[in-house]
Symmetry: C2
Subunit: 416 residues, 2 copies
């Protein structure tokens, strides 16, 4: 059975001028996917009748459902409603419930209810009016030539209100959607191509109703298994259990969470705490850890020892160590990690020191030379990276690698 298909069309010049990022499409696509609906396209077009009509013609040709956001408001540049009305051969009529709602919103704020405001309550006479309790622009649901067209305001809170309360319930009711199930394997410390080689045979063994996707980001690859059809849970779990032994050291989670979240869980399980001593990462490791809600339960603090004086005075790195080996060296990161561990009394401590670039390199220690250490109080492990010349990439990559070194020490998987 072929899946129900949908398209999302965002209307607004501000997106095409690059003035705002469209975040509505991602949210809507996730909600539709969760219902088993296949989103074929997302499109952004200008708010002119001709562009809206062109987008309508194309999407109705391909998809069962076309969802519009934006282009609905009291000002002249909003032409969506008029265009949809003409397209479906209808005429605008004031909707009594919408009028009462908008009038109430204005009067409760002490604002005059003008004719321009009243016209916002007009919708095509044959569409289904969708009540927008979060704002003034009514939603509209058109059944047209065997397809569905939906129009919603572009303000994210209004779009979400209409999707949750009016649109998604109607889609569930009108379409019989096949179920879809996902599993995730979050990996780090291995590149996409090496991962692909390691699991090539397993990947070839997947049945046609199970799809695998590689979703890479900096220093990470997320594997997503998607099964189409009824009762695929056990089959998907079996597939996950088949592939796990092939890549176990690289998998930090079998759910869709970040490495920082996975580390937070590991620390909470062990009732352990963490601190960091950062030079080249400049506080980025601490910032990634503390982005997670609840991190104050296990994160004690960080010393960003950017200047050598901070390494000496706060972390108590020995001046002989700095003069004999330099700030970017194995002995220095060991003393940094052990120094911040003593200072904060944390169970674990992570340290980094390196030449992030673009300047500061030498023939012996070129830009991209990074040292890192993790200590658990008894044992301190270290790792050296030789990265490229881009400062931000080096900071981001070093952060991921240091978090992964911590994960490996936490789980006893670290091997030099």
């Amino acid at each position: 059975m072929s899946p129900i298909t949908a398209e999302i069309v965002t209307i607004g010049d501000e997106i095409l001028y690059g003035q705002i990022t469209d975040t509505n499409s991602q949210w809507m696509a996730e909600e539709l996917s969760a219902l088993g609906i296949k989103v074929l396209r997302t499109t952004s077009v200008a708010d002119t009748a001709s562009e809206i009509i062109a987008a309508l013609d194309e999407s109705l040709n391909r998809s069962d459902i076309v969802l519009f956001t934006g282009g609905l408001g009291p000002t002249k540049d909003d032409v969506t409603k008029k265009t949809l009305c003409d397209y479906t051969g209808d005429q605008l009529e004031i909707n009594a419930r919408a009028e009462a709602h908008i009038r109430h919103l204005f009067e409760s704020r002490g604002l005059p209810f003008t004719e321009i405001n009243r016209q916002q309550a007009a919708v095509p006479s044959r569409c289904e009016y969708l009540h927008n309790a979060a704002g003034t622009a009514p939603g509209m649901w058109f059944s047209f030539q065997g397809r569905v067209i939906v129009s919603m305001a572009g303000v994210p809170s209004e779009m979400k209100y209409l999707m949750r309360h009016e649109v998604l319930p109607r889609i569930r009711e009108r379409f019989s959607t096949p179920p879809i199930t996902h599993r995730y394997l979050k990996t780090t410390g291995i590149g996409e191509s090496f991962l692909a080689e390691k699991i090539a045979q397993w990947e070839d063994s997947l049945p046609s109703h199970i799809k695998l996707a590689y979703l890479p980001s900096v220093a990470e690859v997320k594997l997503r298994l998607t099964a189409f059809g009824e009762n695929t849970e056990a089959e998907l779990d079996a597939k996950v259990n088949e592939v796990l032994p092939l890549i176990r050291e690289y998998v930090y989670a079998t759910e869709d969470i970040s490495l920082e979240e996975a580390i937070g869980k590991l620390l909470l399980e062990r009732e352990a705490t963490l601190s960091t001593a950062e030079s080249c990462t400049g506080g980025n490791i601490a910032r990634e850890i503390t982005k997670i809600a609840g991190s104050s339960a296990y994160f004690l603090g960080s010393v960003v020892s950017y200047a050598n004086s901070a390494k000496l005075d706060i972390l108590k790195v020995k001046s002989e160590t700095l003069s004999n080996f330099g700030a970017v060296s194995e002995p220095t990161v060991i003393e940094m990690a052990e120094g911040v561990q003593r200072l904060t009394g944390s169970t674990f401590a992570v340290s980094t020191s390196g030449i992030a670039g673009p300047g500061g390199g030498t023939p012996e220690k070129p830009v991209g030379t990074i040292w890192m250490a993790v200590t658990n109080g008894q044992e301190t492990v270290t790792r050296k990276l030789s990265l490229g010349k881009d400062r931000l990439t080096n900071i981001t990559y070093t952060t991921r690698a240091a978090l992964n070194l911590l994960r490996l020490q936490l789980t006893g998987k670290w091997q030099k």
Copy 2:
């Protein structure tokens, strides 16, 4: 003269499944608009040959330039390159420069260079190879039936590298884009609508060949003035000088640099140094400062005192202060800023302490209560924020506000 038109097509199931937000399109649209190119559409399609071909057919019908991102990688689900090659009736050939570059990337990291990696260096023989120094997937530029097709990796840093160094220069060269000149006013500390009110009269006075764009981001609004035509430099400068007195306290730069960069310049001019003491921002201020190349000339370090013990032991905040006023209080942030200033010997120091959320609020200090301080050794200024409930927004907004408080103190513009 009708404008040069372009479309942006993003390839990847992960967007249609709603797993990631497409931020590339916004960035690209802004860059293209700045060249005077009209972006007609942005589209996201699945990474299958048929969807890519359908998108190509449609966009080549409408637009002079079609820019693809995504769908280029070493694994099987990436079909873009093969599809573009077939579409243009070409065949793949290993590009020697690409091969050397990819081989170097792998070997310098001590990784084996496999045949899968080598195949990444293959590009259609008649396309122009675009060198991607930021990653392994080559960019491609096709001249095809009087149109231009460009293909770039979807990783934002790689796309941006290719756009800046290869694509935008070629677009400027190949298309006779009308001469265009920009001026930027970077503002912070004022919302878009208030800013618009303050400069409404000035905006109305702009001649028709000068356009103003408001480009908002978190806690910032970038104003871009664009003049079309020859010899507009002096006219634009005059317009900037007219508007500056209306909004001077909010303008941190009259060039397109970030607030961190502007602060770095101010510190260098004054031969001053900086340190931070961060609680709720968790190292994010230090990370923003140290993202800037050369920041080691003025940034000494940070103490991320997440636990109260770190505030007491490292920053020497008095225990009476914490017990009498709490960690989120004016006296605490004053002692934090002064503590880290003494500890590092920096000229200036910034501190933050707040309840980032979602948990941890009380009736007196709800989630979103934030205190911050800036000291110059003689005088310490403070500010309180009452933000919302979203943790990441609170961290980001507090970081921008603390940097702005530092800027105002540095420039003598701070008024309580």
